[in-house]
C-alpha cells in the first residue's frame, strides 16, 4: 500500500508540474480516447452506456468469481443492478457516481494521476487492479471517496444477488411464510389495539400475530 501512496503523491506533483505541458502536447486528445464500451441490455436509469461499461469492468475485477460456485459479475449483471439502485437515489448522488466512473475511465486523468495512459476499459486486468488500488489508497480525498462509493455499489450489487449466496457459504434466509401471511395484518393489529383500549384482556407475553415460540436459531 505504501508504494501506491507514494505514487499518488508523485502523481499529484505530476498534475502540477506536467499538467499544462500534457494538455499542450495533445493531452486533450488522450482525454477523449473512447473506452471499449458495451451495449447495455436495456434502458438505463442513472448511468450512460459509457459509465455502465466502466461499472461492468470494475465489477469484473472486484468480483472475479475466483472461488468455485461464484457466478461471474457479468452473469449477475452487476452494472445494471448498480444502475437500478442509483435510479432510486438522489439524482445528484447518482450523478456523482456516474462522474466518478467516467473519471476512472479517462485516459488523461489516468496518465496524470497514475501513469496509466489508456482508458480503464481498454487496460489489462493487472493494470485495472492497480488503478483501483491507486484510487483506494490515494491521498486525494475525492478519489478515496469515489472508490468507496463505487466499491460499495459493486459489492452490494454482487453479493446481494441470491446466486452468490452459495459461494459465500450462506444458505439464504429461511422462509417463515411471511409473504403468504393474510393481508389483514393491520386489521389484527387494530383489533388488538381496540381490545387494549377497551381494557379487555390482551395476554401479556403473547404476540399480536402468529404466535411463534422463542426458538433455537434455524439453519
Amino acid at each position: 500500500m505504501a508504494d501506491t501512496r507514494t505514487t499518488s503523491r508523485r502523481s499529484v506533483l505530476k498534475v502540477g508540474l506536467l499538467g499544462s505541458a500534457m494538455l499542450a502536447a495533445g493531452g486533450v486528445g488522450l482525454g477523449l480516447w473512447p473506452g471499449a464500451h458495451q451495449t447495455p441490455p436495456g434502458w438505463l436509469q442513472a448511468l450512460t452506456p459509457a459509465s455502465w461499461s466502466v461499472a461492468g469492468a470494475v465489477a469484473r475485477r472486484m468480483c472475479p468469481a475466483s472461488r468455485t460456485g461464484l457466478p461471474s459479475a457479468d452473469t449477475v449483471d452487476v452494472a445494471t443492478r448498480m444502475d437500478a439502485v442509483l435510479g432510486r437515489m438522489h439524482p445528484a448522488d447518482a450523478a456523482e457516481v456516474h462522474q466518478a466512473l467516467l473519471l476512472l475511465e479517462n485516459a488523461l486523468a489516468g496518465l496524470l494521476l497514475d501513469g496509466r495512459p489508456v482508458p480503464f476499459t481498454r487496460a489489462d486486468g493487472p493494470t485495472q487492479d492497480a488503478a483501483l488500488a491507486a484510487w483506494r489508497d490515494s491521498r486525494l480525498p475525492l478519489r478515496r471517496k469515489a472508490y468507496k462509493a463505487v466499491r460499495n455499489l459493486v459489492m452490494s450489487s454482487y453479493w446481494s444477488h441470491p446466486d452468490t449466496y452459495a459461494g459465500a457459504g450462506y444458505p439464504g434466509p429461511p422462509d417463515f411464510g411471511q409473504a403468504r401471511a393474510p393481508a389483514d395484518d393491520l386489521d389484527a393489529l387494530v383489533e388488538e389495539g381496540r381490545r387494549r383500549m377497551a381494557g379487555q384482556d390482551v395476554p401479556e407475553g403473547q404476540p399480536a400475530l402468529d404466535p411463534v415460540e422463542d426458538a433455537e436459531q434455524p439453519g
Binding site: M1, M62, C63, P64, S66, R67, R81, V85, R88, M89, H90, D93, D129, R136, D137, R144, K145, K148, A149, N152, M155, S156, Y158, W159, H161, P162, T164, Y165, G167, A168, G169, Y170, G172, P173, P174, F176, Q178, A179, A181, D185, L186, L189, V190, G193, R194, R196, M197, G205, Q206, P207, A208, L209, D210, P211, V212, D214, A215, E216, Q217, P218
Partner: protein, 512 residues
C-alpha cells in the same frame, strides 16, 4: 373511532388537513408520542416519508431490504464517506430494522446531562415511563442459552479475560431467533413501532400518512402555522406533484437526528446556529475473527451479549462498549476495502467468521461537539463528522481490545477492517495494531445510532429545545426523538427515545 393508514399512491389529489398535533416521523419518538396523544383524545396526524411495509414485504434478502428500508437506499454516510450511517426509513423508522437491544438511560449519562447541560432528569422521574414501554414492547433479557454463536464468542472471550459481559435486553415477543432484525422481522416478533405503538395510535383515532415528506414548516407570528408536505413516489422516493398541507395546533418533529435538523434548516429555523450541531454517531469499528467451527453470523438474534468493560476510561478519554454485529453477505462485503480474489477468499469464509464491534461514546469530553448536519446548495443533506485525536486514540484501543477478545474467544485468525487488513494468527502479533493507522478511510467506520442535532438543555444560549422538548423561539413546535439528546448515551438509544417520548406526551398535550 379508529384512525387510518393512507399510503402515497392513494393520495390522488392535493389535500389540506386540520388537526391538533402533526407528528413528522413515525419512529421510536413519533410513535410513542402519537399513541399517547391519540389515547388522550387528541386529533393526531403522523407523516412518514418512508413507505408502509410489513412483514409480508420483508423478503429477508438484502437486495430488497437495504434499498427499501434504509435512508438513502443504505447509502447514507458522512460527506467524506468515511462513516457509513445505517438509519431506517419506513413506517416505524429505525425500529423496523434495529437489532432490538434496549437499555434504560445510564445514570452516569443523566448525571452528565445534569452537570453539563442543565438537564435535571432523574432515573426516578423516568422510571414509570421506562416501565410502561418495557411492558408494551416486551423488553426483557434474552436468555443466554439462546445467544447465537457470534454473541457467544463475545461472552466466552470476555469471561476468559475477566471482563464484564452480560445478556442484553430485547424488545421481542415470539421471537423466532432468525437473525433478520436488520431486514425487517418476518414473524412480528420484534416489537417495532409499526406493530405496537402505531397501531395503538391508529386505534385511538390517529391518521398515519406514509410516503409523505415534509418540505418545510411555515412560521407565522412566531408559531408554526402550516406544514407543507409532498407525496413521494414509493419506488423512486422522488416527489410527485401532489401536496399535503396541514394546519396543526402543534407540530412535533420526530424524524431523527439527521432529518429533523434538515427540515428545520429548510424552514429557515436554525436555532441561533445550533440546529444540526452536536450530532453524535456512536462511531463503530469492528474486528473479525475466523473460527474453526462454524459461527453462521447471519443467523440468530443479532445482539444478545454486550460488554461495558471500557465504557469509562477516565475523564480525558473516549469510552467504548462492545456488542456483536450480524453478518449477512452484503453487509459483510461492505466492511472492508479489499477486492478481487482476496475479497472472494474472505467472503468464502463467511460461515466461520464472527464480527465484534466497538461503539464509541461521543459528546462527553469537554469540547467534543460531534458532527454537524447541514444543507448543500442542491438541497441534499450533508453530514460532517470530524474524527478527533481522542476518538482516534479510542479507536486504536478498541481494535487492540477487540482483537484480544476475539483471540480469547478462540479465533484461529483475527483480522482488522483496515483498508489493508491486518491479519493475525497469534496473540504475539497484536502489537502490529500499535503501528497501524486509525481514523477516516483507514478502516471501516459505521454508525447505527444517530443522536443530537436539536440538543436539549437548560441554557437557551447553548440548546435548541428546552427540558420539555419545546423548540426555542417558535411557539407550538416540539422536537421529540433522539435528536434532542445532548450527548451520546453509551448504550443503544431506542429505549431512551421511547421513554423520553412518553414523558414528552404531557408537554405536547398541554400545548394544544
Amino acid at each position: 373511532m379508529s384512525g387510518t393508514i393512507t399510503i402515497g399512491v392513494d393520495l390522488t389529489s392535493d389535500q389540506s388537513l386540520d388537526c391538533d398535533v402533526c407528528i413528522v416521523g413515525s419512529g421510536a419518538g413519533g410513535s410513542v408520542l402519537a399513541a399517547g396523544l391519540a389515547q388522550a383524545g387528541l386529533d393526531v396526524v403522523v407523516l412518514e416519508a418512508g413507505p408502509y411495509l410489513t412483514r409480508r414485504d420483508f423478503t429477508l434478502h438484502e437486495e430488497q431490504a437495504y434499498p427499501d428500508l434504509y435512508q438513502d437506499r443504505m447509502g447514507r454516510a458522512t460527506s467524506d464517506l468515511a462513516i457509513s450511517i445505517l438509519q431506517g426509513r419506513s413506517v416505524g423508522g429505525s425500529t423496523t430494522v434495529n437489532w432490538t437491544t434496549c437499555f434504560r438511560t445510564p445514570q452516569r449519562i443523566l448525571d452528565h446531562w445534569g452537570e453539563h447541560h442543565g438537564i435535571a432528569l432523574s432515573a426516578d422521574e423516568l422510571a414509570p415511563h421506562f416501565e410502561a414501554v418495557e411492558q408494551r414492547l416486551s423488553i426483557h433479557p434474552w436468555p443466554e442459552a439462546l445467544a447465537n454463536e457470534n454473541n457467544r464468542k463475545l461472552l466466552v472471550g470476555a469471561r476468559a479475560l475477566g471482563w464484564e459481559a452480560a445478556p442484553l435486553r430485547r424488545n421481542v415477543k415470539g421471537c423466532a431467533n432468525s437473525g433478520y432484525c436488520g431486514l425487517g422481522c418476518p414473524v412480528n416478533g420484534k416489537q417495532a413501532m409499526h406493530i405496537t405503538y402505531l397501531p395503538d395510535a391508529i386505534v385511538a383515532g390517529a391518521r398515519l400518512f406514509a410516503d409523505v415528506q415534509v418540505d418545510r414548516l411555515e412560521v407565522q407570528a412566531g408559531r408554526v402555522a402550516v406544514v407543507h408536505a409532498r407525496v413521494l413516489d414509493r419506488f423512486s422516493g422522488r416527489a410527485t406533484e401532489r401536496t399535503l398541507t396541514l394546519r396543526p395546533k402543534v407540530t412535533v418533529l420526530s424524524g431523527g437526528a439527521v432529518n429533523n435538523p434538515a427540515l428545520l434548516l429548510r424552514s429557515g429555523l436554525d436555532g441561533g446556529g445550533r440546529v444540526g450541531r452536536r450530532t453524535f454517531l456512536h462511531p463503530v469499528v469492528g474486528i473479525g475473527g475466523r473460527y474453526e467451527q462454524p459461527v453462521n453470523p447471519f443467523y440468530g438474534a443479532p445482539q444478545s451479549i454486550g460488554s461495558h468493560q471500557f465504557i469509562d476510561r477516565g475523564p480525558d478519554k473516549v469510552g467504548f462498549f462492545f456488542e456483536s454485529a450480524p453478518m449477512q453477505p452484503t453487509l459483510m462485503s461492505t466492511t472492508s476495502a479489499i477486492f478481487g480474489a482476496l475479497h472472494d477468499e474472505l467472503m468464502g469464509q463467511l460461515p466461520h467468521i464472527g464480527v465484534m464491534i466497538s461503539l464509541h461514546v461521543d459528546g462527553l469530553l469537554p469540547g467534543d461537539e460531534g458532527g454537524t448536519v447541514s444543507l448543500r446548495s442542491d438541497g441534499r443533506i450533508a453530514i460532517d463528522y470530524p474524527i478527533t485525536p481522542p476518538l482516534i486514540e479510542a479507536m486504536k484501543e478498541s481494535h487492540k481490545t477487540l482483537a484480544q477478545l476475539t483471540f480469547a474467544a478462540g479465533a484461529v485468525e483475527v483480522f482488522s477492517l483496515h483498508t489493508d487488513p491486518l491479519r493475525m494468527t497469534t496473540q504475539d502479533e497484536l502489537s502490529r495494531l500499535d503501528d497501524a493507522a486509525y481514523g477516516g478511510h483507514e478502516h471501516a467506520i459505521f454508525s447505527a445510532h444517530q443522536m443530537g442535532g436539536c440538543s436539549m438543555g437548560g441554557d437557551p444560549a447553548t440548546s435548541v429545545v428546552d427540558l420539555e422538548h419545546r423548540f426555542r423561539g417558535v411557539d407550538g413546535l416540539f422536537v421529540v426523538d433522539g435528536s434532542v439528546l445532548p450527548t451520546a448515551l453509551g448504550v443503544n438509544p431506542s429505549e431512551t427515545i421511547y421513554g423520553l417520548s412518553r414523558r414528552a406526551t404531557a408537554f405536547v398535550q398541554a400545548a394544544v
